[in-house]
């Protein structure tokens, strides 16, 4: 008996022991991170320094793409990390769908931007939208935390965060329209489906936020470079009001003028002396940055990304451009401009001799100059006598003369008797040989050519080097090896490219790192505000002074021309001039789509350019494309949303 009892007791004791251990071990399941780089939210907001670190992330959300530059611990998923950069997406959305740029790359969804043909499942549209809402979610959280504190410095941070949120909501309004999800610091983090807002409410919200924080933000000059100041809030207000009619149907040019005036008169900003320096590696020097109202900052060592200005600079380099000239390790051979944009840039129609052809009104005998320079020099297809420029024998004496433009140094060519290859001459050193070897030109440029078929000799004489000297220093175009017209979007050598952006310093040194640019991106700069003043005035804003508007524009043009030769008069200042002048001053700075839309020229058929609507000559596009679609990813996860019309 005793034995049985003992056994039962022992068995129970054992079981009790086992479950004792077991229950005590379930406590292990409540873990907290053991990594020094990871902090729980409970510990993160203690000192103002902690707040500053989170605030820095709110700014960094516009610059880098994750916590491990240049890539590796991304903020945004479902897209290549480099693509997810705020500035890169902003640039792509604002620039590629316009005449300002065309991209050669074939990344999924990207070619749609050349043609205005994106759909709701476009990866890049998703990337921009996600980046905007990422920034909004981050700022909401920070605002929630900062509102619980009363330190003055944290209150300033709070105002900065509200400015950044307003900036992102403005991007949302501008690119995706008013029917987008609306979340503020009042909303939780977690599984719910936010209600969409509408254009009027969203406009009013952005406006009220900016008006509220403008007084709380420090004045320009009293805050570290890179952070939001009152001037930034005013500039954003001016831009919001300027586009008010597009967003809400109501004109607010009076307020646009008021806040532009505030920026110009009350903030101490000044134009930089040199236009080119605004886009170089050391554009944070005070002599340059005094023009920049709100920069997004980059640094080749400390803020590395495959987006931002690093992307803009890399993508513009290709063909015969030397990467070293831009302080970079190489080119990505992506962006060129359409001929329509060259038309705008080349305001005074300085002809870079493209396609220069000798006239032959009398129908005198001709020979032809086919060669490998043709496509690049405006004579369409290479080595095609049918399309080659002629030399003319005015005296019908078998001596032919004429002018031919060679865009490519060292290009090869020959002469043909007809517009075919049946009889042709090559040779060297001034002597022609039937079926001889190819002739070679020296430097690129416009040449006088004489061919004497009696003596079988030829001469070529350089009249003028090719690089056209534009009086307007803002016209940074590169033509060597590039054709003006774009037949094949994917061929980098078709279309002129720009040299506007650079990772060289103003003193000719490369930036810190050849792989990653130092150049800051001016989200807002004073020149933009000058043009806002002028535009609002022309559009009839109360208090606008047309003479002042002309003076402001002429300040920009004097900087560009180096003297008063490009100055305009009040008679010149009209809306057609302003939309073009904005392009000349602000191109490749991610403003163009918004500007064209304000002028009713973005979609539709009033204004078409090469490859708009997916044809080389350009075709009308549907009004649908004025704004981008809400990405299908969000439509699918948030039942409250309605897709933008037409998508």
């Amino acid at each position: 008996m005793l034995n049985t009892k003992f056994r039962i007791l022992a068995a129970f004791a054992l079981l009790a022991m086992v479950f004792g251990i077991a229950v005590s071990c379930t406590g292990d399941l409540s873990t907290t991170p053991i990594d020094d780089n990871i902090t729980t939210s409970a510990n993160v907001y203690e000192s103002p320094d902690d707040f500053e670190q989170v605030l820095a992330k709110l700014y960094a959300g516009f610059s880098v793409t994750g916590q491990q530059g240049p890539a590796g611990n991304a903020d945004i998923q479902g897209i290549d990390e480099g693509f997810s950069s705020y500035i890169r997406q902003l640039w792509v959305h604002q620039t590629l769908p316009t005449e300002e740029a065309i991209v050669a790359w074939n990344d999924p969804g990207l070619p749609d931007f050349n043609f205005q043909s994106w759909g709701s499942s476009n990866d890049f549209v998703m990337g921009m939208y996600s980046r905007i809402y990422y920034e909004i979610a981050l700022t909401n959280e920070f605002i929630r935390e900062a509102q619980q504190r009363d330190e003055a410095v944290i209150q300033q941070y709070l105002a900065e965060a509200r400015f950044l949120r307003a900036l992102s909501y403005w991007h949302g309004l501008d690119m995706f329209g008013g029917n987008i999800p609306f979340v503020t610091e009042e909303d939780p983090i977690g599984a719910y489906q936010p209600e969409p807002t509408n254009a009027d409410d969203l406009f009013a919200y952005i406006e009220s936020e900016l008006l509220a924080v403008a007084d709380e933000l420090p004045a320009a000059g009293s805050v570290e470079y890179g952070r939001a100041s009152r001037g930034a809030a005013w500039t954003l207000l001016a831009k919001l009001y300027l586009n008010s009619e597009v967003y809400t149907g109501t004109q607010r040019y009076d307020e646009a003028l008021t806040y532009a005036q505030n920026v110009i008169d009350q903030s101490g900003y000044q134009l930089a002396d040199n236009y080119d320096h605004l886009f170089m590696a050391d554009n944070d020097r005070p002599e340059v940055s005094r023009e920049i109202i709100f920069p997004i900052r980059f640094d080749g060592d400390n803020m590395q990304t495959y987006g931002g200005t690093n992307f803009i600079i890399h993508a513009q380099i290709g063909g015969n451009m030397s990467a070293g000239d831009f302080g970079m390790d190489g080119g990505w051979a992506g962006h060129r401009v359409t001929p329509d944009f060259i038309e705008i840039l080349n305001e005074n129609k300085v002809d870079p001799f493209l396609g220069t052809t000798t006239e032959n009104p009398d129908g005198d005998p001709e020979i032809y100059v086919p060669g490998g320079y043709q496509a690049a020099s405006g004579y369409t297809t290479n080595w095609t006598p049918a399309e080659a420029p002629p030399l003319v024998s005015d005296d019908q004496n078998n001596v032919y003369t004429g002018q031919v433009y060679f865009a490519i140094a060292g290009a090869e060519f020959k002469f043909t008797a007809e517009r075919n290859w049946n009889a042709n001459w090559g040779g060297a050193n001034g002597t022609l040989v039937p079926d001889g070897s190819n002739l070679v030109i020296g430097d690129a440029g416009l040449y006088d050519i004489t061919v004497d078929l009696n003596t079988m000799t030829y001469t070529v004489t350089l009249i003028e080097a090719s690089a056209p000297e534009f009086a307007d220093s803002r016209t940074n175009i590169f033509t060597d090896g590039q054709s003006l017209e774009i037949e094949s979007v994917q061929d980098f050598n078709q279309g002129y490219t720009l040299t506007k952006w650079s990772n060289m310093t103003s003193t000719g040194q490369p930036g810190k790192n050849l792989q990653f640019a130092d150049t800051d991106f001016p989200m807002f700069r004073l020149a933009d505000v000058y043009l806002i003043y002028a535009e609002a005035t022309v559009r009839g804003a109360t208090g606008g002074d047309i003479n002042r508007a002309v003076d402001l524009v002429n300040e920009l043009r004097e900087r560009a021309y180096g003297d008063a030769s490009g100055n305009i008069t009040t008679g010149d200042l009209n809306l057609d001039f302003i939309i073009d002048e904005r392009a000349r001053e602000l191109h490749w700075e991610a403003h163009r789509r918004t500007d064209l839309r304000r002028f009713g020229q973005f979609t539709g058929g009033d204004y078409v350019w090469s490859w708009k609507g997916e044809t080389q000559e350009g075709a009308p596009t549907a009004e649908t494309f004025d704004i981008f679609p809400i990405p299908s990813t969000d439509i699918n996860s948030n039942l409250n949303l309605t897709q933008n019309p037409g998508y």
Binding site: P33, D35, Q77, A137, P188, A333
Partner: protein, 1007 residues
């Protein structure tokens, strides 16, 4: 001579005590005949030893008779290769006749199951056992290669031909979408860390295949649910070899010498062919980039190699302590130049019993040290596409190490040009030394206080490290060295420009396990029933730490690196705590019931979602025991099995704190500047408090059969499996979280299949034995739900990244389709049968060819898989082969779609790339990645290995048996696929490290 010496030493030192006590008793002579149970034939050469006295033994003569003098209470051990070993107590008898049972799938063979063993005949779940004699032959470095093609419903696809590379194992196709689909591996009761360690190709590589006794694959939920949250994708139980009580001394040496060769090349243009193509199609300025050499770059990067593998093991019983000690060395060179994988491994297994055998202990320890050099796999791709007219080395130029390099006008390497393949291999020294040690101690104690209750305690660890010194004995290291003059790591010639790359990384993983369970067995004779209950508790801790320090090879004047690319470290951990129970009940030995229940808690989910309950039930009915089948002598077994179970998935691949709101600091390269200050930022991470287990419900019906005295046996099974609450990375409603995609429980997946296997012992006579095994599997899967909101217009989650462009994908997970369905345009062909560039079928008929015309076509997963293997023995000769076939597996030929394009040949920055010959089949100017032209049916038949061996007994008096064998591995593959190898896991063929053909000489000696 040697053997006798060892025996003598052992006798003197080890067994003197036994000897003394043994000889003190009076002895009797026992004799008898040993026969084969099935046939009644006598068995000559059966070993008979006295338990505890390995030096005393005999063997049966040609007539199967034996005679031995022993103590009346001795225990005799009868053993014979291929038959189940028997221990028979003499009990004073003088005649003992013994029937030996063949160990091939015998019904009373013990099967290892979760937390226990069971007789095969009583098993109710879907289980495959592969014992060591059925393992694949060949140059095998990793356990999963042993059972490739051997079990229905289990596919093993080697990841590449790199030395020591792992394989991807899918049991019944896997049940998850974005979470892991790998099965759980358990070695002697110790669950293995699944994810590898940096600097090692395959986590299983640290288990020496020569130490493995058997492998059990648990396939259905009724078998796996006892492993609860980790069992959704099946469980592979590995049992290692060990000594036995009374084991005679056995020394075994196994050696393999392999010659590996890779003669398959991607068909590319030769130098002359390439020259004429460029001259013909491109301008002179492009053609001026051509060289005049004739370099076969693929020949340059590949080589033929010798590999070897040596193992020695000693099995014995020292006093009452059976033990096995083994030591292995395996040296594998890779066919891609410079790559190798060397492994030294050792293991010790002790399994003594105490207290009259009521306390049984098992102690296992195994350790390995693995040296690797990784050759940059990118060199395979660049070797395919590199310009064949360029030389490997530039004569008289030492810049960039003398390797030919594409330079731009400034004389700098063009960053987007392909790197010289040989430079990529030779100038990048990526070496590691990795340690792994795992062990466990297991105590089984028959409680003296309560009858029929056995308590089991199992404590184990699994440590691995690279670059740290966790084990404290030997240094391990992980490093990459790229010299300053390497063109592919060059950012410019100036003092401030970073060149080269020096990386040192560390990682350590420490996992601990503690299991405790009680087992109660009872024969309820009054009810003609049998009861077996198990109740237990398990605790696991997994911790991981690592660091990476990467900087330029060149330094500034102070000796500091010019640039630090990366300087990070991290640490993370998680726990799993579980309670589990199992009841086996059998009635009349005909009706079997198994029920299991496991409650798992993981630290990866919030307190509210932390615990998951995983039940299973299974019924089996031994039909052949019923009256109506009693007279069917030809039927040895007919068992119907029905199973149902729920299993879970918590291997989420999204860190260990996905439910916690945390903030992460930025690296120095991702700061933000305020004025002149660079601020380290703090980022809130997205989190999902609602995250929970993924749950898979499996239904299984199976029949085990065995006929004609077990001459033919096997099983037929059908299963249906549904996974709910799939762990899936889905878009977050914008603005509601600190990320745009988050891991959530969204979506359902169905997998169903049929499995059939049969083994036939076609010949079984005194001198000749022949066995053929065949298995066939049909599997089909379909995603049935993917989003919270059902939206028929939702395309799905694009996946399957390909080479070419950035972010291009070729597959999609869509509702109503299999996982990873290819998502392509339907190509239009001209009259000559050539594809027309950019012309696709307007499938939706809207007059436009756009993304809406893409369609889903097939998937990488085979519809049908087959495995066949055979073993033939005749006297001293043996031969075997194993072959596999896949039907309906589709492969996207990314090598062709990315290389065979005219526009790719030239680049505006001034370099050339060589297309593959495929360019003549699809003469595209620009890349047409999405064309279904590149999608091919890659069904194949592969003869994995053929082997022949010869065995000599009592060779030179010293060696008790010697087997010499020759094996050819990867003999041939029959396929219509146009690429190099049709067997591509994931279905995207992009310059796979080629699987070499191996010729192998094997030597196996028993002393």
């Amino acid at each position: 001579m040697k053997r006798k010496l060892i025996l003598m030493l052992v006798m003197v030192f080890g067994f003197s005590a036994f000897a003394v006590s043994a000889f003190a008793q009076s002895q009797i002579t026992v004799s008898g005949t040993v026969t084969e149970a099935e046939t009644g034939n006598t068995l000559p050469g059966v070993n008979i030893v006295v338990q505890g006295q390995p030096d005393r033994g005999t063997a049966t003569n040609l007539n199967g008779e034996y005679s031995i003098t022993v103590e009346p209470d001795a225990v005799l051990i009868f053993s014979y290769l291929g038959f189940i070993r028997q221990e028979i107590a003499v009990n004073g008898r003088e005649t003992i006749n013994v029937q030996m049972q063949s160990d091939v799938e015998a019904l009373d063979e013990l099967v290892v199951i979760g937390y226990g063993v069971q007789e095969r005949g009583d098993n109710t779940g879907s289980v495959n056992v592969i014992s060591s004699r059925d393992f694949n032959e060949g140059a095998i470095t990793s356990p999963e290669e042993l059972f490739q093609g051997r079990a229905a419903g289990v596919t093993v696809t080697s990841n590449s031909g790199a030395p020591g590379a792992g394989a991807t194992i899918r049991i019944r196709g896997g049940s998850s979408l974005s979470a892991s689909n790998n099965p759980l591996f358990v070695v002697d009761g110790l669950p293995l860390e699944e994810s590898g360690i940096s600097g090692m190709r395959n986590p299983l590589n640290s288990i020496n295949p020569n130490d493995i006794e058997s492998i059990t694959v648990l396939k259905d939920a009724s078998a796996t649910a006892i492993y609860g949250s980790r069992a959704s994708n099946g469980v592979v139980l590995i049992t290692t070899k060990r000594g036995e009580q009374g084991q005679p001394l056995q020394v075994n040496y196994t050696g393999r010498y392999a010659y590996q060769t890779n003669n398959d090349r991607v068909d590319v243009l030769g130098s002359g062919e390439f020259q004429s193509l460029v001259n013909e199609r491109f301008s002179e300025s492009v053609a001026s980039n051509l060289g005049s050499d004739t370099t076969n770059w693929q020949d340059q990067v590949f080589r033929d190699v010798f590999s070897q593998d040596h193992n020695i093991s000693v099995t014995n019983s020292y006093k009452n302590i059976p033990y096995r000690v083994s030591l292995g060395f395996s040296g594998n060179q890779g066919v891609l130049k410079t790559s190798y994988n060397d492994r030294i491994s050792g293991s010790i297994a002790l399994n003594p019993s105490f207290l009259d055998n009521s306390l049984r202990t098992e102690l296992n320890f195994r350790g390995s040290r693995i040296n690797n050099r990784f050759a940059d796999g990118g060199a395979i791709g660049t070797a395919v596409s590199f310009d064949p007219t360029q030389p490997v080395h530039v004569e008289g130029n030492n810049q960039f190490g003398g390797y030919f390099t594409w330079l731009d006008g400034d004389g700098s390497p063009i960053p987007i040009a392909p790197a010289n393949p040989l430079a990529l291999i030779e100038q990048r020294n990526d070496e590691s030394t990795v340690h792994r040690a795992l062990g466990n101690i297991k105590l089984d104690y028959d409680l003296p206080v309560a009858e029929n209750i056995t308590a089991t305690l199992n404590a184990g660890f699994d440590y691995s490290d690279v670059g740290t010194d966790v084990l404290g004995i030997l240094n391990s290291s992980g490093k990459v060295r790229v010299p300053e003059n390497a063109a592919f790591a060059w950012t410019g010639g100036g003092d401030d420009n970073a060149r080269g790359n020096l990386t040192d990384y560390t990682q350590s993983k420490e996992n601990e396990l503690l299991d405790f369970y009680l087992n109660y067995t009872k024969d309820l004779e009054d009810y003609d029933s049998n009861l077996d209950l198990t109740l237990g508790y398990s605790w696991e801790h997994h911790e991981e730490r690592g660091s990476n320090f990467s900087r330029s090879a060149n330094t500034d004047l102070d000796g500091n690196p010019v640039d630090v690319f990366n300087d990070t470290n991290y640490a993370t951990e998680y726990y799993i705590v579980s309670f589990f129970g199992r009841a086996n009940y059998s009635f009349k030995d005909k009706y079997l019931l198994t029920a299991t229940l496991r409650n798992d808690g993981t630290s990866r989910f919030s307190e509210d979602n932390r615990w998951g309950l995983f039940p299973s039930f299974a019924l089996a009915w031994k039909l052949n025991e019923e009256n109506f089948l009693q007279d069917t002598d030809w039927l040895s077994e007919l068992k119907l099995r029905l199973g149902y179970g729920v299993t879970g998935q918590q291997r989420i691949g999204q860190g260990n704190y996905p439910y916690l709101p945390v903030y992460t600091s930025s690296e120095p390269t991702a700061r933000y500047s305020f004025g002149n200050r660079f601020i380290t930022t703090l980022r809130p991470e997205g989190y999902n408090v609602d995250l929970k287990w993924e749950e898979t419900t499996t239904y299984n019906i199976g029949v085990d059969y065995s006929i004609l005295d077990e001459r033919f046996f096997g099983s037929v099974e059908a299963f249906y499996r549904e996974t709910e609450d799939l762990l899936n990375v889905v878009p977050v409603p914008a603005g509601t979280n600190f990320t745009n995609r988050i891991l959530s429980n969204v979506g359902n997946l169905e997998v169903q299949g049929l499995e059939f296997d049969i083994t036939g012992r076609l010949i079984s006579t005194e001198n000749t034995f022949m066995q053929v095994s065949f298995n066939a599997t049909y599997t089909q899967d379909e995603i049935t739900k993917l989003t919270t909101v059902d939206d028929p217009s939702f395309i799905g989650v694009e996946t399957g990244g390909i080479a070419g462009g950035v972010g291009n994908t070729i597959q999609v997970h869509s509702v109503g389709h299999p996982r990873n369905s290819f998502f392509v345009f339907e190509q239009v062909y001209n009259n000559e049968g050539l594809p027309v560039e950019g012309l696709y079928v307007d499938r939706n008929g809207d007059g436009l060819i756009n993304d809406n015309d893409k369609y889903r076509l097939e998937s990488p997963n085979p519809d049908l898989t087959f495995g066949i293997s055979s073993r033939f023995e005749h006297k001293n000769w043996d031969a075997s082969f194993a072959a596999r076939a896949n039907v309906g597996n589709y492969v996207y030929n990314n090598v062709a779609s990315n290389n065979a394009i005219f526009s790719q040949i030239t680049n505006t920055t001034g370099f050339l790339t060589n297309p593959t010959s495929y360019i003549f089949d699809a003469p595209f100017q620009n890349a047409q990645y999405r064309s279904d032209h590149y999608l091919e049916d890659a069904s194949f038949i592969r003869l994995d290995n053929v082997s022949i061996g010869y065995t000599v007994e009592n060779f030179l008096d010293v060696v008790s048996s010697l087997r010499i064998s020759g094996t050819v591995q990867n003999v041939f593959t029959l396929t219509e696929y146009s690429g190099q190898d049709p067997e591509v896991f994931g279905g995207i063929d992009n310059n796979l490290y080629p699987r070499p053909r191996t010729f192998l000489l094997g030597l196996n000696l028993n002393f």
